[in-house]
């Protein structure tokens, strides 16, 4: 059973489109995250939710909107996609805070053409 699963694994789309990435964790964790990994493998946090409440919102364009319908799900919606949005997006979860082990999904490779 996959602990943190995200879909789709690959996403190829045109500039200007709107797309969503879904994430689910079956670990019973309270906290979920979205990370962006660029082409140089640099990993940067975008958002963090704790029990459906937004607790971290880094400097991310407001075209990116996370939504957490319940504590097991954290989705990422991106409006008006731009070339620079091309990256691998990782969902992760932890029991409570980021001072604990993060469990990562396998990533969504987003390519904006």
């Amino acid at each position: 059973d996959t602990a943190v699963s995200q879909t789709p694994k690959y996403l190829v789309t045109q500039m200007g489109n709107d797309k969503s990435i879904k994430c689910e964790q079956n670990l019973g964790h309270d906290t979920m995250y979205w990370y962006k990994q660029d082409s140089k493998k640099f990993l940067k946090i975008m958002f963090s939710y704790n029990n459906k409440e937004l607790i971290i919102n880094e400097t991310v364009p407001n075209r990116f909107s996370p939504k957490s319908p319940d504590k097991a799900h954290l989705n990422l919606h991106i409006n008006s996609l731009e070339l620079g949005d091309s990256a691998v997006y990782f969902c992760a979860s932890s029991q409570r805070t980021a001072n604990e082990k993060l469990f990562f999904g396998s990533g969504t490779q987003l390519s904006v053409l």
Partner: protein, 114 residues
């Protein structure tokens, strides 16, 4: 501000040789430190973590890391590298302030040659 530096972008080691990956951190308080490994096309997996206590921590797959407060370092070591260890390795620090978050270094790519 909290930060993590991994000075080596990539390292090549012969199979069976020892390995040390360097990591330096900047953090005002006692840090929570982690090493993660990422295989191609996969998410990150925790190798080990340090919160307090013994400064030499053991992790999975035969890895260990040593916390040295005086040097602000948390280097990862393995006595004998296997070809399957080829991957990207990330050092990270758990930071408070503005919500808990894990800050990652830029990663070190490990190549293993036969």
């Amino acid at each position: 501000a909290q930060s993590v530096t991994q000075p080596d972008i990539h390292i090549t080691v012969s199979e069976g040789a020892s390995l040390e990956l360097r990591c330096n951190y900047s953090y005002g308080a006692t840090p929570y430190l982690f090493w993660y490994v990422q295989s191609p096309g996969q998410g990150l997996q925790l190798l080990l973590k340090y919160f307090s206590g013994d400064t030499l921590v053991q992790g999975i797959k035969g890895f260990e890391a040593e916390f040295k407060r005086s040097q602000s370092s948390f280097n990862l070591r393995k006595p004998s590298v296997h070809w399957s260890d080829a991957a990207e390795y990330f050092c990270a620090v758990g930071a408070q302030g503005g919500g808990f978050k894990t800050i990652f270094g830029a990663g070190t790519r490990l190549f293993v040659k036969a």
